[in-house]
């Protein structure tokens, strides 16, 4: 057993403290240490985007960071968005537009797009395509995801006005 490092991290507004090995990836930390299984682990080398979380306000790959690097930082995962009874507008739009089939990639798409839509309330289709170019989906062919993003952006900006 190698040296353990004390990590204090805020995830979805709640503070957690754990002792971890330096080599533990942030993605594994969220799933195995905190039990937040919404963050999915696909390729583990930064290609697929399934593990995307929002780190200090910016979407990043949680498989390309160590848990120890999150010490003192703020993280949002898919669990922060909504519940089955009260979904986030983006989740509702994914549901309505059939923007998922197997659902494996969905948490990564949601976190990437939530962050994107918060910063760009009225995006063009081109901007949406660029925003999700780091996320792979093998079911939908992407068109329905883009439709969902458009619908969510309309509803989210309508709600704010």
């Amino acid at each position: 057993m190698s040296k353990l490092h004390h990590v204090t991290v805020t995830v979805n507004g709640k503070q957690y403290e754990r002792d971890v090995e330096a080599r533990m990836l942030l993605s594994d930390f969220l799933r195995h240490e905190l039990g937040l299984m919404g963050t999915h682990v696909g390729c583990e080398h930064g290609i697929c985007g399934a593990c995307t979380v929002i780190f200090d306000g910016e979407p990043v790959r949680s498989c390309l960071m160590f848990a120890v690097q999150a010490n003192g930082h703020d993280i949002r995962t898919v669990e922060s968005l909504g519940t089955p009874e009260k979904m986030h507008p983006l989740q509702e739009a994914f549901h309505e537009k059939h923007a998922l089939q197997c659902g494996f990639c969905t948490p990564g798409f949601l976190m990437t797009l939530v962050s994107f839509l918060e910063k760009h309330p009225n995006p063009t289709e081109e901007e949406i395509r660029e925003a999700i170019d780091g996320n792979i989906c093998r079911c939908t062919g992407y068109e329905s995801i883009i439709e969902a993003a458009k619908l969510a952006s309309e509803r989210m900006s309508a709600r704010e006005n």
Binding site: A22, R23, G46, P59, V60, R61, L64, M65, N71, D133
Partner: protein, 293 residues
């Protein structure tokens, strides 16, 4: 798919980091953004005994003007900060243009400007761009500092002149003279994927539209970024012309590019790409220089 154990150091100042590196010597490895290093750790292709994490050193992340009109970029400046910085866009429009081709938004939020250059991936955009822009690298080790040009800094695939206890601290971009135009052209199989070949051109014209300076770099077609001597020989003093650009393209593709065959493309195909991309890149760079840059 999980890294082997390593000792972890999280210095909060440059001096502390240099102390760590000096103590660790060959056992230590700098962790910058980690967007290339952590995948190689996950695959266990790299097994450093210790990592020195620079992410807790705010003094290494900055973009500031230099007295001559250029910019100094701290090694830990995130790619996305460079991508969207107005001072960068004003002085060096090449940089935001190239950034869009570097992996994906999530990677650019974490990846760093200096880290990518120090990684010296032959298919990496920033090592090649730093050569095209004639950047200067400020290297630091405990009690010592030196500067080298980007072309001197990169010596082979994933190899630089950095000593084991030394780090790239800052990248200094010299100002572009008036009437300088630049262009980046690449071909890759998909958005954000590795370029099968790419060409970067930075061209300065005199007041009669003749080439006063040209730095053209071939990327992803050799063991390191290739600064074309042929472009200089053929184009200096010349106006833009398709014949001249084609002559450069032929010379670069046959005499300067040194591509390998792999899963993504054959060497011959890569040479063909160089022929096409050289003409496209030079045409655009000359055109932009004519219009003032």
């Amino acid at each position: 798919m999980k890294p082997v154990n390593f000792d972890y150091y999280a210095p909060t100042s440059v001096d502390e980091a240099l102390d760590n590196l000096a103590e660790l010597g060959y056992n230590g490895k700098v962790l910058a953004g980690g967007q290339s290093l952590i995948p190689t750790l996950n695959f266990r292709m790299a097994r450093p005994a210790a990592l020195v994490d620079l992410n807790n050193i705010p003094e290494l992340a900055y973009i500031k003007p230099t007295s001559d009109g250029g910019l100094a970029i701290g090694t830990m400046t995130r790619d996305s900060k460079v991508e969207y910085n107005p001072e960068v866009a004003k002085r060096f429009p090449l940089l935001p243009e190239v950034m869009k081709f570097i992996a994906h938004p999530q990677i650019r939020n974490r990846g760093t400007f200096g880290g990518a250059i120090a990684h010296a991936d032959p298919a990496g955009q920033l090592p090649a761009v730093s050569v095209a822009m004639n950047a200067t690298m400020r290297l630091r080790r405990k009690g010592q500092e030196r500067t080298v040009t980007a072309d001197e800094f990169i010596i082979g695939p994933f190899m630089t002149v950095l000593e084991p206890d030394e780090m790239l601290a800052e990248v200094i971009l010299p100002p572009n003279p008036p009437r300088t135009g630049s262009s980046y052209k690449q071909v890759s199989r998909q958005k954000g994927g590795y370029a099968q070949a790419a060409v970067i051109s930075v061209v300065t014209l005199d007041d009669r539209n003749r080439c006063k300076d040209v730095r053209m770099v071939l990327m992803s077609v050799g063991e390191r970024p290739i600064l074309s001597q042929k472009a200089r020989e053929i184009l200096m003093g010349q106006e833009a012309s398709n014949e001249a650009f084609r002559a450069v393209a032929e010379a670069a593709a046959t005499q300067e590019a040194d591509p390998a065959t792999d899963l993504h493309a054959t060497a011959d195909y890569r040479r063909s790409l160089v022929r096409v991309l050289v003409v496209r890149s030079l045409t655009e760079a000359f055109d932009r220089a004519k219009r003032g840059g």
